[in-house]
Amino acid sequence: MSWARKVLRVDLSKGSCSAEPLKMEWAAQYLGQRGLATRYFTAEVDPKVDPLSPANKLIYATGPLTGTMASTGGRYSVITKGPLTGAIACSNSGGYFGAELKMAGWDMIILEGKSPKPVFLLIQDDKAELLDASDLWGKTVWDLEAQLKNRFQDPQMRISGIGPAGETLCLYAAVVNDLHRAAGRSGVGAVMGSKNLKAVAVRGTRGVGNIKDPAAFMKATAAAKKVLADNAVTGQGLPKFGTQVLMNVINEIGALPTRNHRDVQFDGAKDISAEAMHAKRKTDGKPNLVTNQACFGCTIACGRISKIDETHFTVVNKPQYWGASGGLEYEAAWALGAANGVNDLEALTYANFKANEDGWDPISFGATVGAVMELYEMGVLKKEQLGTEAPFGSAKALTFFADQVGRGEGFGKELAQGSKRLTAKYGHPELSMTVKGQEFPAYDSRGIQGMGLAYATANRGACHLRGYTVASEVLGIPVKTDPHATEGKAALVKAFQDATSVFDSSGLCLFTSFAWTLQDVAPQLQAACEGDWSVDNLNVVGERIWNLEKEFNLAAGLTKKDDDLPPRLKKEPAKTGPAKGLVNGLDKMLPEYYQLRGWNAEGVPSAETRKRLGTAPLGERR
């Protein structure tokens, strides 16, 4: 089985918790986690709903392999309608929380309504209750964790919750668990805050024991672990350098978006790279990086644990930031660094600590600061309104804003709206580097063409984790394709998107896909779960999940014009590097992509596609 077969429904308006059986007929079609929660969500929530209203729902979902010995089997996702985008939002997190929820005997938590006062949800195995959180409201993620563990005298409790950013409805507020692992993107934390829900605290002692064929499962997971260990990326690169292994690589190929995408190469890249994190600092002779760390069940261990230089201007007389904590991953290092032209590794680490502590997404924040710095250099935004000088490259400005954004203080309140709303307010919407209102991550689509299509069509807005064609176009996984070519990218993007939907619905980490294909995932699922989890069927399941998310977006009012890139990427050629002179060729790829998906020229699934996948326009099915 592997599913716990049980869903916890929490009505925050009434203050009630109830258990209901998992709909196994939906699990057979949508697997778990991202897919299955999307099935529940689309059946229960009006796509036109205001994301921050009580009528929106928030689903915490684990996968069938969450809480098992499958490598990386500890993931959970948070699914809702995103306030940043107005599209379906699904953010995935590791750490230990997801496995703990599963061990308590739950596949999913559906949170609905709005509590009249701040509360947190306490789950101890079968028992679930809402408790008063008035003393926790206003607390940071780090204080929240310490207070709850202290109150219940239970150091083994796992906590997922929001910081000040979620409470103040920052549109890219994150849900953070285990101090520095986050369901980071699309503002899922703001939805949690809008419901007056501070945290979910779980202690699970039941475990996961209903594996369909335990002997086959142990064999399949052991074989798959060996594949990870033997692979150069998952066995060596990621444990040693983390995702930061990419910084210098992406800079060299001219695809490192720099200074709000004005440039594609950053002269300070080496200063904020994995290699820099390993190097001994001149000030104290210690490296920024303390160690790597695994999430639950993970045999890769790419996580970064860092310590800031105690003499750095950001932490002088602030001992709460002197300890080891979650360090820079590639996306955060890029967004806080290259996107703003800042090359101060310690300042970036500090801003990253603040993101974890106050609960916001460093990608959207960093990219928004990049837009602000461009507006400042254009003279549109002034020092007086910002509270600081803010030229590109200013570590002072970056960390000044990082201090303010979580609580919405000063100009932080405007930063918390994201770059789409902010640039529009000041008359320059063209400077917002977003798709569907969500900021780009760390790959410039002029130098990696397929990523332009992946960004434009990602159902949750610009995102690298929905179709990571970087793997093929740059790293040659599973086969090398030309990053400057548009030919063949429509099929490549579709294949990555569908496979990714499966990884995200299984309980596994997407990073395994540097080494694994669905050929490695299928035997693990097949041994653990009843049903058909062959590669062929998984491909269909992945496509079905993608199409259901698309149906939600269409019913929410999104159209073909939302599957687009900002003019800068389509009209301003890359200035330097191997991609010099190129713009993104989205218009060449998009029609072919729609066709391959079985959608019409407006991006609407055809009747035949809907029939094949068992999906339907949401208004009709509900």
């Binding site: 335990p214 142990m218 303390v290």
Partner: protein, 173 residues
């Protein structure tokens, strides 16, 4: 003279769990393997080995029973429910004898024998009868099962290698 009174272990090298915290990533594969071995369930709450996460320093430390020679738990037990497994040297709890009085949990200086609510007995590491699941599951070599008389061998080798490098450097100079 105590050693002369011991049984001679004909060719049997006794092994012990050897833990190198510097290699631990905190993945908890060991805890899942332990609970699966003993309860057929993936459940860190039932594991006899625990990984401690000292997040302020970034250190992770797996910790379990060291199988004391003069085991406090064994001597404290009023019903003789803890016996020595002659093959492995493990101090093993006999479930059908244990009455769940928990005196051993008080006696153990290291906290590595603990009560289990579900069974009403105590549990501790029994070295899986000579094939510890935790060591097999550990992906980084932080937990190994090695010759009990030579748990320092790895460290000695590291230092020896350093010495060798230095002397080589000395020669070069």
């Amino acid at each position: 003279m105590r050693s002369l009174e011991r049984p001679i272990r004909g060719g049997n090298v006794q092994k012990s769990l050897h833990i190198d915290p510097a290699k631990c990533t905190g993945c908890l594969q060991c805890e899942m393997a332990c609970s699966y071995e003993n309860y057929q369930v993936f459940n860190p709450a039932k594991s006899r080995i625990k990984v401690f996460d000292f997040h302020h320093t970034g250190r992770k430390v797996p910790y379990t029973c060291t199988q004391c020679d003069e085991a406090w738990c064994l001597h404290a037990c009023p019903v003789e429910a803890i016996k020595v497994d002659a093959a492995t040297g493990a101090k093993v709890v006999l479930d059908d004898v244990c009455v769940g009085c928990k005196v051993c949990t008080i006696a153990c200086p290291f906290g590595t024998v603990n009560y289990v609510q579900d069974t009403g007995k105590v549990q501790k590491c029994d070295l899986c009868a000579g094939n510890p699941a935790c060591a097999e599951a550990c992906p980084t070599g932080a937990i190994t099962y090695v010759d009990a008389d030579w748990t320092g061998l790895g460290k000695m080798r590291q230092w020896a290698q350093k010495l060798d490098t230095q002397s080589a450097a000395g020669h070069a100079a």
